[in-house]
Every structure is written in C-alpha cells, then in structure tokens.
Amino acid sequence: MIIKNKAIVSDDWTILRLSENETPESITVPAGKMIVPLTVWQAQRDNLQARAELGVWLASHERPEELKGEVGKFDVIAVDFPKFGDGRGYSIAYNLRARLGYVGELRAIGDVLRDQMFYMQRVGFDSFAPRPDKNIHDALKGLTDFSEIYQISLDQKLPLFRRVKRDGIATAGSAND
C-alpha cells in the first residue's frame, strides 16, 4: 500500500535496488512494473525504453538534471530518502517538477515518515511509500498538519501575501521613504 493523491491505495510497482555484487550494466531487470535506479536506466536505456511501463528512482546524491529531456518517458519517478534527515530529496523533487517539467507521479521512498510528509507534498511529491514498519493510516494524517502556509513552493505558486488580504494596522507613509 502507498499513499497517492492523499489516499491509501494498493500499489504494484517494484523498486529495484542493486545489491553489492550487482552492477547497473549486469543486472537483469525483471519483467513487470519496475522502478529502476537511475544508473540502471542510464546503462540499459535502449532495452528499458521499449517497456510499456517503467519507473526510475534517484538516490539523494544524484542529480535530477541527469534526466533532462527524458522525464516524460517514465510513469513514475521516485526519490529515495536514505535517512529522513537527508533533505536533498526536497530540492530534487522541486527541480524535477519546476525545472525539468515532470508532471507524472513523483514518489517519496526510503525513510519516509509521517512528520516529514507535509513538507514533501509541498515540494511536488504526490505519492509516498511510508516506511513499512509504520502505520500507513497514521502516516496519512501527516499531510494535513497545517491549513495555511507562508511561502511559495511547488504546490502553491503564490505566497500568502499575494493570495489573501492580510490584516495590518493603519499607518502613514511607506517603509522605504
């Protein structure tokens, strides 16, 4: 089960991870709906792009620009959080959406926990695979911690001060006089 578009749904994608003695070139990608490492995609692009359904995942140290011009080839792109405190995945997601124009499913995988999911959805993730030992129904609650936000990100193109009429106090003159 995963969380997708704010709902718990079943999921039939498999995430392929290389074991120590496998290389991107040598590994055989099983049939079916596979989310392959970026390195495997790059090594086996010719074979893989013939598949009807394919996903790719990025490690936190990998650059989303590696997929420049290719993001449309995937049904799902995942970003791995090796530890929840590794925040690179947030900028990877932002760049995939804002800079590389990716509009498909963007999934957070790895050390994905309830208390980071509000931030994750803001930078462009629309699907989450919470860590298996955690209760997914509990994790879902993380998406609704806050009902308002100050700043722009992927989910909200206007900052609060451009979106709503904020209360102020009457004053004469301007700040920059």
Partner: protein, 581 residues
C-alpha cells in the same frame, strides 16, 4: 512591534497541536528517540546533561511586556524560576520536562511566541540590531525585512532538513551591530546613489571550527528580490553542502571549497528561473509589515533633563550608569537604556522570574511596553524619556540590573558551557564569574574601557569567542582537565576580525591572571583613549603573547571549583558528550 494576524496565529496554533501529538507518540514509543529528536529540535527542545532545555524564539530580539511576563510565568511554573538570554537574542529554560513542553508552547502561542526552528538543521531565528528603529546611524529599519524573512523561513518545506543549521542576520545602520559577517547569510540594508533600497549580501561567514568572515555574493540586491535570492542560495546549499561530516557541513565550507565566484554563478543560475516571479516581495506587503514598526507616540521634549544633570553630579554610581548603560536616541529627550544581566554573582544572561516581571513593568511604564534582547545577552528599553532615567536607575539597581558595565570587561558574552551543555569541553559560566570577581573594581573597569571578552566552552563557539577582543575557548585535552585557549584581536561590527590564538592553553585557575597580564600589556602600551582592540591592531599579538608566557602562572590558593555551587563535571563526562544534543 509586529502583531500576529489570523494566519500567523493559526500557523503557530497548528504547530502546537502537531507537536503535542508528536510528544504523545514519543511517550507511547510510536516514535523512536531518533525520529523524535529532529522534531523536538525544530521546536527548540534540546536534551542537556540534567534535563531538557527549551529555546524560545525572540524574533530579531523584540519583546512586548506581555511576552516578558509569559517568560516569568514559564520560569515559575515549568522551570526553576529563571531563564537565560542567549547570543541569538533568544531565551532558554534549562530545567524542562518533556511532558510539559506542549503546554509551554501553548502558553507561548497565547502571546504570539513559539520555539519554531530555534534548533535543528534549518533556518534559525533571524537576528538584528538591538537598537533598530532608534539608532541615530540607522539607514533603514531592518525589522520589517527581518519579520518578512521570519515568515518566509517558517516551515519552508524545501529547507527544513539542510546539511546543518543556518543563521541569518540583518543590519540596517552604518555601524554593524548584528555581527552580519559571521553569519551564514549576512544582510546589510543600504541605499544606492539613486536612493533605492537594497541589500549587500554576505554569505559563508561563521565561527566554530572554521572561523571565517563572510564573502560578498551581491553588492546591491534590490529589496524586492530578497526572498527569491535567498531561496536560491538555500537551494544550492541544500543540494551541494556536505552531509558526510557535520563539522564541514556549514555553507561556509561549501563557499570556501568552490570559491565565491563559482558559488555566485550557481546561485544566479538558479535565481534566473525565479527572479521577478511570484515570490518577489511586494511593496504592499512590505508596507503592511513596516506599519508595525513605525515610531511610537514620542512626546516633544527638551534634549536634556536638568534633574538628571544635577543627580549625575552628586551620585557617582548614577553617573557611571549613565556613561555605560544609557545610549543615544534619535529623538530629542529620549534614550535607550541597557539593563545589565552581567552582575558579578550571576551567570551572564540569566534573569529571574522576578526580574522578568520587573522589566515588563518598567517597559510598560517607561518604554511603550516594548523591550529588546541584545546579542550581548542584556536587555534594552529603547524609548526612555530622559526625565524617567533616575527612577529607572533606582528600580533597576534595586533589582540587580544596573551594573554600569555595558561594553566593559565584565559585560562578558558567554555560552552555557559544561555546566549544562553536552558538547562543552569546559565550563564557561564559572570562568566568567571567576574573572568578574578578579576585576570587580569599577574604576579599573572604566579605565580599561570598551573591551569584549567572549567565552565559549567548546569549539562550537556559541560564546562568539572568535570575534571577542579577548576570546576564550574550552579545548579538548586527553587528560580530561579543563583547558582554555586564549585569542586576541577578534572584533565584531564593521571591522569584523577573527582573533589569533596566543599560544598553549591554560587551566581554569590560571585564567584570571592571563586576562590580567593581557590588560597590563594594554595599559603599558596604549596611547591616550586608545581602545584595547586598537592597541592590539597597532602593536600586534607578539607583545601580549610574550608577556603572558614570560613567567609561569601560579595557581596555588586558587578558588575551589565547588565554591561556585556549580555541578562538577560528571565522571562519565566523555560518554555524555558523545550523546549529542
């Protein structure tokens, strides 16, 4: 000062609800300590040696009297009757129970306060000039920008899990009183030749293990772009800052590694995409926020009050206080008054609940209900009538906050040190006390004049030792003893400089004599009216070093550490230090 609107209040209230649930899940073990640690840190809750410490944000150092009274309430109800003001203009409570923290944050929210992002690897409380709005040398009041940046950085989704903590300071006056050169980002508000407002942007300054003065990334950034430009700096840092070694993970290391030109190129490349976009600050919003920082209802007053001059002539203590603790104000007849939290027998920056209530009351009566926390760990009443000075002096004297030592040797900047902090190698508060006792002679202190003595218990340099004219830092030695390294020549402000270590370290008992010898060299070498720092700059470190190490420093008859009533280092000290935060 700024007042929350509906949205500000809602965001802080929802944070309390979120955090209360996180604590519940921690207590029921749904959350492991490792998972909870980063969540509590982002609410300012640290685990220290004896108890939890809660750090509360005081945005850019501004407080209302109601907020100060809430601190007194928290000190009484949840702590041991006192709090500690910090070098980041915040307040810390040292004896907190985890179970009570949600209630504390709810109490704080009721007066528009919180502990959001006062710790953790995120954008921290934004600091500024304690004399903002009243300083005669102010170009532009930096507080509206600081508040706008506070809101922008609050729960920024992309930058909550940075490689390391991130500190921004903003200054709007000719003189830099916000130490902007030793921040991850230092902003200085200025006007260009066309009269337009913008920022000089410094990046990659800092102290700690790699003390370094920030580099200029942009000489003039028009004010509208401040949010998007900082967003781009943060994005480059979040992606490329080192995460493999916590001592090399601050932005300064990245800037140093790739050079400021390359760093600027990357920032500008990212910025090209969002510049002039919807994230650009609007004049309407700037004016909305700035309206909260307009001048209070000043009266038309004569420049001086004759009673003050008269009393000054007959009362030396009052005269000393006027000289050191009363600062000029841009409005005739008003002054800014520094309430000293540096009394000889208390820890620098500490205030009791009673003092907090007294200060709140004085703020209401003498300073439009507002006060400020300084990065030198004192309090300021910024808008005091000359005619109220005598009463204010009497009342603050009665409550132990009128030590006439602002800017002097005993106005020490000091971190909590090994009495509280798991990171410290050595104690700093008892050392500050030991030094204060040695130099507890006002005539001598006034003769030495302005000097900054900054003390940190370890390499993390929370006591700003690198930018102290005299810097003291606890060092890690294999013998497990308490050792301190001493530097001279550091400075903050417009001529920010990193001090140079004078030589091998000293033990606790030797330190007052070391300070004394440094001062003797200064007294011997100084020209008329020359400040300590200027003498150091003129003659260099060598004469100081030579004299300090010329003869051994006798420590016989040194004061027993226990005499200070502080907890000695526990036997399992090393083990405790490993359990970080």
């Amino acid at each position: 000062m700024y007042k929350y609107d509906f949205y500000d209040q809602q965001i802080v209230d929802e944070r309390v609800v979120q955090y209360r649930d996180q604590v519940r899940r921690r207590l029921s073990d749904e959350l492991s300590e490792d998972e909870f640690r980063m969540l509590r840190l982002q609410n300012g809750l640290y685990m220290q040696i004896h108890a939890y410490m809660l750090r509360i944000a005081v945005p850019y150092g501004m407080l209302s009297s109601a907020q100060m009274r809430m601190f007194a309430h928290i000190a009484r109800k949840y702590d041991r009757g006192y709090g500690h003001f910090t070098t980041r203009q915040n307040i810390q409570f040292n004896w907190i129970k985890l179970e009570e923290t949600p209630d504390i944050l709810a109490d704080l929210a009721s007066v528009e306060m919180h502990g959001i992002q006062t710790s953790g690897n995120c954008i921290r409380n934004i600091t500024s000039d304690e004399y903002a709005g009243v300083a005669a040398d102010e170009i532009i009041d930096p507080r509206p920008y600081a508040e706008i940046l506070r809101q922008w950085s609050t729960f920024h989704p992309e930058f909550a899990y940075l490689p390391r903590k991130f500190k921004i300071a903003i200054n709007g006056a000719t003189e830099d009183r916000a130490a902007i050169a030793v921040h991850d980002i230092g902003l200085s508000v200025l006007k260009n030749e066309q009269g337009e407002i913008g920022f000089r942007v410094l990046v990659g300054g800092g102290t700690a293990r790699t003390p370094i003065v920030g580099s200029e990334i942009c000489g003039f950034l028009p004010w509208q772009h401040v949010l998007t430009y900082i967003e781009s700096i943060m994005r480059v840092y979040n992606q490329y800052g080192r995460r493999d070694n916590m001592y090399k993970s601050r932005i300064k290391i990245l800037v140093k590694a790739i050079g400021i030109e390359e760093f600027r190129r990357q920032v500008e490349a990212d910025w090209a995409d969002i510049k002039d976009g919807p994230g650009t600050l609007t004049l309407e919003e700037l004016n909305r926020v700035a309206a909260y920082f307009t001048a209070p209802a000043y009266e038309s007053l004569p420049e001086n009050d004759p009673a003050v001059a008269l009393f000054k002539a007959e009362n030396k203590a009052f005269a000393n206080w006027l000289q050191r603790n009363v600062k000029p104000h841009k409005i005739l007849g008003y002054a800014a008054v520094v309430l000293s939290l540096k009394k000889t027998d208390i820890a620098p920056g500490d205030a009791s609940a009673e003092q907090m209530d007294v200060v709140a009351d004085m703020a209401d009566r003498f300073s439009f209900g507002e006060l400020r926390v300084t990065h030198k760990q004192n309090l300021v009443l910024a808008d005091v009538k000359q005619s109220d000075l005598i009463r204010l002096w009497e009342e603050s004297t009665e409550h132990g906050m009128a030590s006439p030592n602002i800017g002097l040797l005993t106005d020490v900047i000091c971190c909590p040190g090994a009495d509280f902090c798991t990171l410290a190698f050595a104690r700093s508060i008892p050392l500050a006390k030991l030094i204060a006792e040695r130099f507890d002679n006002l005539d001598f202190l006034h003769d030495i004049g302005e000097i900054e003595l900054n003390i940190s218990g370890c390499v993390n340099a929370c006591g700003h030792n690198h930018i102290g004219n005299i810097g003291v830092i606890g060092v890690d030695k294999k013998d497990g003893g308490e050792w301190y390294q001493v530097s001279v020549g550091g400075a903050q402000g417009n001529d920010t400089a990193i001090g140079k270590i004078i030589g091998p370290s000293f033990n606790f008992q030797q330190m007052p004599e070391v300070i004394d010898r440094l001062l003797q060299v200064y007294v011997r070498e100084r020209f008329e009216e020359e400040l300590f720092i200027d003498t150091v700059r003129r003659i260099g470190m060598a004469p100081f070093k030579e004299y300090v190490y010329a003869t051994p420093i006798n420590t016989e008859g040194a004061i027993d550490k226990d005499a200070y009533g502080f907890i000695n280092k526990p036997d399992n000290y090393t083990v405790q230090r490993k359990s970080r935060f």
